[in-house]
Amino acid sequence: MQDLTIDELYEEFEDLPDWDERCDYLIDLGFNLPELPAEAKIEENRVHGCQSNVWLVADIKNSTPPTVEFLANSDAVIVNGLIAVIAALYSGKTPQEIIAIDAQDVFKKLGLERHLSPQRRNGLYSMVQRVRELAVQAEAQS
């Protein structure tokens, strides 16, 4: 699941035109999300603005140019599904690529904008915000 690309996700969603089925698919993604080690679930890594708890960390790979892997977990399964979407969108990309991505456009295409509650949408954008901050930091370090 971790290797899911955003294009594969578009395809999956296309085959699941119904929100209920997409929601079930997100839940499956959520259950398959790799567990974040307990020591990463600390206040410093918490993303604010989520109703549920979300911890998000970035792992910078020493390639040239460096790429960033994002690892995150939530205590809510559907949010874990959304984290899988974020990972598909951002993981393995260079900081410049990450900063260039228009997340809103992607979520619109996936129909997530429409089906998430405003709170969950805010939470999703808080995660995007954090990913972008971590990418900027990674770029500064490289």
Partner: protein, 411 residues
């Protein structure tokens, strides 16, 4: 007391008969947040706009007088509904939150000083907590908390630990919006008065579910919201004893609340006008009168008995779910609210999955963060019942929970 004809009641609420996508029937279990509206309330608001709308308390022309008459009619209905003695004790506000802020700032700032104490407790809604915290900050008074029992009731045995001759205000909810706990208001009022304090009752949850009698219960201030009482949103009520409203400063200035304005100072109209600055929510206030008529016709005793039946059924059936934790006291001490968590399920996931079955519940901290801290959870799911809910709605809730638990791989 007539038993409630639940089919007839459900027939009065048009929204309940509009199927959701996929033909799912609506199972609305969030009346604690805001209640649905019966046809008579919808019609009344429409009648105002279609037939005689005008500003209130300003025009002698025909529509102005009709509006004034209708508004005073609604005020009188509210007076009778809570058994207040005088109509000038009924103030229209924007809602319960505004009413509570008005008491804290209008009465509190004038009457509290450093060293005085305000008694709160951890089950209060933020609307009956934060204004008092602010008042304490502004006056140097202290907020003290009456402890709760293990099962989420006020620990009346320990009231002596907090109540003293320093107490100036005891602010308490009539019914907890999370635990469902019904508080012993008359007993609390006696104790507060014996200590020389006033009692402020947040009736947001209690007023829609049981008969309220401000005189018999010796309530000093009572606040509630129209929208939770099957009336329009944007309108609320502040009841205050006449002498206390006289000692209360207005919170908003200008417009209709003045008596005489000079260049350097002004005097105020008597209550309720003193507290109704600007243009009040005209159609909403009038339609609130219709909501009260509606509830009065059903009979609050019948409403209460019906809701108890649904609550008892829900309380029993919910316990069939493995991992179910229901917060708050047993049914003998609670009104028609059940907040719960299910081990291994995040409340937000649960609420979202229940929605897929057409079952609408609230999740989160329900504006009671200190209570959730005490319960040791950051969020709960809340099913709250209104006059139109039936045992069938509880069955639908059970089916939806089973579906959610399956999706969340708990079964």
């Amino acid at each position: 007391m007539n038993p409630l004809d639940i089919d007839a009641v459900r027939g009065d609420f048009p929204i309940l008969h509009k199927p959701l996508p996929k033909g799912l029937p609506l199972v609305y279990l969030d009346s604690g947040s805001s209640a649905q509206k019966p046809q008579c309330v919808i019609d009344k608001e429409r009648e105002v706009y279609e037939n005689y709308y005008a500003n209130a308390y300003r025009g002698v022309y025909r529509f102005g007088s009709i509006v004034d008459e209708e508004l005073e009619g609604a005020r009188e209905k509210i007076r009778q509904f809570i058994n207040a003695e005088h109509s000038e004790e009924i103030v229209f506000t924007a809602g319960c939150t505004m009413s509570l802020n008005l008491v804290a700032s209008g009465w509190g700032k004038r009457n509290l000083k450093a060293g005085d104490e305000i008694i709160l407790n951890e089950m209060e809604h933020h609307a009956n907590l934060v204004p008092w915290q602010q008042l304490a900050l502004q006056t140097g008074a202290t907020c003290r908390f009456l402890p709760l029992t293990e099962d989420g009731r006020l620990d009346m045995d320990r009231i002596g630990e907090v109540l003293s001759d320093k107490t100036k205000v005891l602010a308490v909810t009539g019914m907890s919006n999370v635990l469902g706990t019904i508080n012993p208001i008359a007993e609390l009022a006696k104790k507060a008065h014996d200590a020389g304090a006033i009692i402020v009752v947040d009736g947001a949850q209690s007023v829609p579910h049981e008969q309220t009698d401000v005189v018999a219960s010796e309530i000093d201030f009572l606040t509630f919201s129209g929208h939770k009482l099957y009336g329009p949103s944007g309108i609320g009520v502040l009841y205050g004893k006449r002498e206390l409203l006289e000692q209360t400063d207005p919170m908003l200035f200008g417009g209709h609340m003045i008596d005489r304005v000079y260049k350097d100072h002004s005097t105020w109209a008597p209550s309720p006008a003193k507290f109704e600055a600007g243009t009040i929510q005209i159609a909403q206030a009038i339609a609130l009168g219709s909501a009260i008529d509606y509830m009065t016709t059903l009979g609050m005793e019948s409403v209460h008995a019906h809701e108890r039946d649904v609550l008892e059924y829900a309380y029993t059936r919910l316990q069939e779910i493995p991992g179910m934790r229901i917060y708050g006291p047993g049914i003998e001490h609670r009104g028609a609210i059940t907040s719960f968590t299910i081990d291994g399920a995040h409340p937000e996931d649960l609420a979202q999955l229940l929605d897929r079955k057409g079952v609408f519940v609230r999740h989160g901290h329900h504006c009671t963060m200190p209570l959730h801290d005490l319960l040791g959870v950051s969020a709960t799911v809340r099913a709250s019942f209104g006059v139109y809910n039936s045992r069938g709605d509880v069955d639908a809730l059970m089916d939806a929970i089973q579906f959610a638990c399956q999706r969340l791989r708990l079964t």
